[in-house]
Amino acid sequence: MISPLSNPPLFHLGPLPVTQPVVATWGIMLLLAGGGAMLTRRLQLIPGRTQAALELIVDTVDSQIRGTMRVEPGPYRAFIGTLFVFIFVANWSSLLPGVEPPTAHLETDAALAFLVFLAVIWFGVRAGGVRGYLASFAFPSPTMIPLNFIETLTRTFSLLVRLFGNVMSGVFVIGIVLSLAGLLIPIPLMALDLLTGAVQAYIFAVLAMVFIAGAVAEAKPETPSTKASP
């Protein structure tokens, strides 16, 4: 029996094996980028319904960034917004028959968590420089440096595990129930899985904002910082 956690390559691009999550991610990328490009071709000052919906999404992301990070959303909008939209669409891609969500695989969640880890460093260095960012590990006292360093790694790991566990477990439960009970029984579980997927996308994005905001606030020497915790 093949393990549901196994990830066999579908084909190879040179030396690189291309697995199902990668292909699904490419499909999601094509959908989001193509859809975004198509929908934003004719933006007007007086919006139509579609443009109003798009602006509502952007405005909601901006308001979340302002409310969570207490900064102007411009530099963070693309990263945070894309994280949320991608995870949301990836989680909900399980609605399509035969498609397994990329986030149900450890590699995708690890890649997302790794990008958040890099983003924290990137935005922290950009806000206070390398010295400022490294100095943030000594907050509130130098004795906290090891703990803060470990915390940086563990919170990244917690992001990975939280998203992977929730999505993977949903897929597993639906698969088991479907194999045992029949065609219509898993529908409530699928609905619950959709809710879980949306919530997990939101939690992932919010935690990314909190981590980045903590790094940015602590890296700025003149700004009184507040220690962010997951």
């Binding site: 393990s3 956690l5 990830n7 690189l16 094996p17 291309v18 697995t19 999550p21 990668v22 991610t25 490419w26 999601i28 990328m29 989001l32 980028a33 975004g36 490009a37 929908l39 934003t40 933006l43 007007q44 000052l45 919006p47 443009q51 798009l54 602006e55 999404i57 952007v58 405005d59 992301v61 901006d62 411009g74 909008r77 693309a78 990263f79 917004g81 894309t82 994280l83 939209v85 991608f86 990329p102 695989h105 450890l106 590699e107 995708t108 690890a110 890649a111 997302l112 790794f114 990008l115």
Partner: protein, 240 residues
């Protein structure tokens, strides 16, 4: 369970690419459009504020102009009232003058009518008096009256200048017929008074009532009741 590092790397790269693609084709255009709308709204608000200020300034100017209108209206009213009062005074004065003139005209006309009426009454009274006198004088015809009138006539002839007495023919008018003897006497006495012997003829004119009148080409002596009454009447009618 193991981690496929190649998949992990590909997925990280995919997500990075997706971040770039969505930033390029979705987040930035929509955010820019929102910002454009916000800027346009702020410009509209600023423009509306400027127009509001302009409208307030215009309203203040209109209010000030209206206040000026009210002051000008008051001044015009005062001026119009003064002009009306002056016109009323002038009209009253003109009316009073006209009334006075009419009153004077009426008084003059009344006086003229009164004078004319008095003159008419006087003339009528004169004529009535003359008629009464004529009727009374008509009863005084007689030789004595004739002799008196002859004496009056001779006296008048003697009062004439000498040149006037030189006439060739004369006519003696009397109210009643004079006898031949009387005619001869009268002719003789007249000739003596004239100092000449003109040819004298006698005529009868009852209108004379009584008396003798001498008439020539350049001479006329009215010496009768009629002449006297005419003079009296003329004096009565022209008296006053």
């Amino acid at each position: 369970m193991s981690i496929d590092w190649a998949t992990l790397g590909l997925q990280a790269l995919n997500v990075l690419i997706l971040v770039w693609l969505l930033a390029r084709f979705f987040w930035r255009p929509v955010a820019d459009m929102i910002e454009q709308r916000r800027a346009a709204a702020q410009a509209l608000l600023a423009d509306a504020g400027a127009k509001d200020e302009a409208a307030k300034a215009a309203l203040a100017e209109i209010t000030q102009t209206r206040a000026g209108f009210a002051q000008e209206r008051e001044a015009l009213l005062v001026q119009a009232q003064a002009q009306a009062a002056a016109a009323r005074t002038a009209l009253l004065a003109a009316a009073a003058q006209e009334a006075e003139a009419l009153r004077r005209e009426a008084r003059a006309a009344m006086q003229t009518e009164q004078a004319a009426a008095a003159q008419a009454w006087r003339a009528r009274a004169g004529r009535l008096a003359v008629d009464i006198a004529a009727r009374l004088a008509a009863r005084l015809r007689g030789e004595a009256v004739q002799a008196a009138f002859l004496e009056f006539l001779l006296h008048e002839i003697q009062a004439l200048p000498p040149a006037a007495r030189q006439v060739a023919a004369l006519e003696v008018a009397s109210a009643t017929e004079i006898s031949a003897a009387a005619q001869s006497d009268i002719t003789a006495r007249i000739s003596a008074a004239l100092g000449a012997t003109p040819r004298i003829t006698f005529i009868i004119e009852p209108a004379l009532i009584a008396g003798l009148e001498l008439r020539g080409p350049h001479l006329r002596i009215s010496n009768s009741w009629r002449a006297d009454l005419d003079r009296i009447e003329q004096d009565l009618t022209h008296d006053g």
